[in-house]
Amino acid sequence: MPTRRPAAALALAAGLLVIAGGATGLLLTRHSTPAMRPLAAGVGALPAPTAPIVAPPQSTSPKPVAAPVSLTIPLIGVQTKLLTLGLTSTGTLQVPLLSQAGVAGWYKGSPRPGSIGSAIIVGHVDTTSGPAVFDRLDQLTRGNKIYVKRADGTLVEFRVTSVQTYLKDHFPTEDVYGPVPDPELRLITCGGAWDYATHHYLSNTVVYATEVS
């Protein structure tokens, strides 16, 4: 049947084309597009804030310190007021709303920054479309400085001691929220892989810092 020959050839050619197209598509889509986060640390660095710096607390006279009002991390250009956050009805830590993703918040169930203990400040890493207040938190390293201003105008200076990323399923509650005997700070945001099914990051990045004495 000579009339069938062009049809068969056409099918073969079309089939091979489809295979080539499929393979190309498959190969091209196997790479993730990179994250949008800027990588250069120090870009947009801020000057250290100035205000009276108070001496670290003494355990013999645990005087109440004023509530925190703002946070500055010069190296990564963070300068934000601080919300006051509590717990959700399910017992997890409340976080700022999407509309407040540019602002961080202090957990009111934790010690106040600059008093003895581990003060907790949380902020979003991103919004649905771009970076948020703590998008560059993971770029901090040991020795970087963090400042918290309090309601009475005084300033507390902290120095980063360690930066860790934990799977949320293995969040080290005791290390982060447990008692410590000196004035410390923990900054928490999201990190690690984004889960497209649940729309959550799988990990948390925690910055540990202690007050400079």
């Binding site: 997890t92 479309s129 990323t165 928490i188």
Partner: protein, 284 residues
């Protein structure tokens, strides 16, 4: 054949990248990574004059910390130190740093742990005690212990509200920690006919040491806040991202694999048809 080999290779690649995404982020305890613990120094011997207290790293003859003229009742703030071996020495206030110490002791600091090194007992039997300080509280509670440092009243009973914290606690000894309901309570120390009262606030998630001291008149109670954390620790991790800067993961491979499969079938059919045609022509 080649197509299947290629697809199998691709599937392997896909499987491998899926595995890699699943690898857990390395997580270390904060104190384990920084490798630090805490140490504080105290003078709790009523009839011992003021001393200079020296803290040495084990292999170093130059003191890391020197506290001058430390008088009875003084407790220093905690110092963060690298985990390891240290020694603490006491010299009479103003004595040369190279003079023979009155007392010395060694202390091993474990990462994430806190210690109080205190001069305790009467001057005639002065010793340096190393106390292990607790840094964990049961959720929603406070932790408290008592150090009995009164020589005037050698045996005391200490109550927090109606809860007994220590009964018949002897001079120069330390009670066990006790978990208590947070709040502001009265502390009463009774010994023979002498009483002392004070009010303390113990917040959830805090660790306290109550020190019974000889005061100018009778007994004195000092409330030390040793450590503090979140009274109600939040559950689990924190939801602090909306994904806007997340890397966009590879889409599903299924449509592409289906296309490859369909293309394969089409090509195979066409190829077979062509071969059959050629055989037919050859036969004519």
């Amino acid at each position: 054949m080649n197509i299947w080999k290629a697809s199998r290779k691709l599937l392997m690649l896909l499987a491998m990248s899926a595995l890699m995404l699943g690898i857990p982020a390395t997580a270390f305890a904060s104190s384990a990574t920084t490798g630090t613990g805490w140490i504080r120094l105290a003078h709790l011997s009523p009839n011992t004059p003021a001393v200079d207290v020296y803290l040495y790293s084990f292999d170093n003859s130059t003191a890391m910390i020197v506290l001058h003229h430390v008088a009875y009742g003084t407790v220093s703030p905690y110092e963060s130190v690298q985990a390891g071996d240290y020694s603490v020495a006491m010299r009479a206030a103003g004595a040369s740093a190279t003079s023979q110490p009155v007392l010395s002791t060694s202390v091993t600091v474990a990462a994430g742990h806190a210690y109080t090194v205190a001069g305790m007992g009467p001057e005639s039997g002065l010793r340096l005690a190393v106390l292990d300080d607790d840094l964990t509280t049961p959720s929603g509670q406070a932790l408290v212990r008592v150090i009995q440092a009164s020589l005037k009243q050698q045996v005391v009973n200490v109550k927090l509200g109606s809860t007994s914290l220590a009964s018949s606690l002897k001079f120069a000894s330390v009670s066990a920690y006790q978990a208590v309901t947070p709040g502001t309570e009265s502390v009463s120390v009774s010994a023979g006919g002498t009483d002392a009262n004070s009010s303390v606030t113990l917040a959830a998630g805090t660790v306290h040491t109550l020190v019974v001291l000889d005061g100018a008149n009778g007994l004195e109670i000092v409330n030390l806040e040793d450590a503090s954390g979140s009274g109600q620790p939040p559950l689990g991790g924190v939801g602090t991202g909306f994904g806007g800067t997340a890397p966009h993961g590879p889409g599903s491979a299924v449509p592409w694999l289906v296309a490859i499969g369909a293309g394969g079938l089409l090509a195979l059919t066409g190829g077979l048809r062509l071969r059959r045609n050629r055989q037919l022509h050859a036969g004519v």
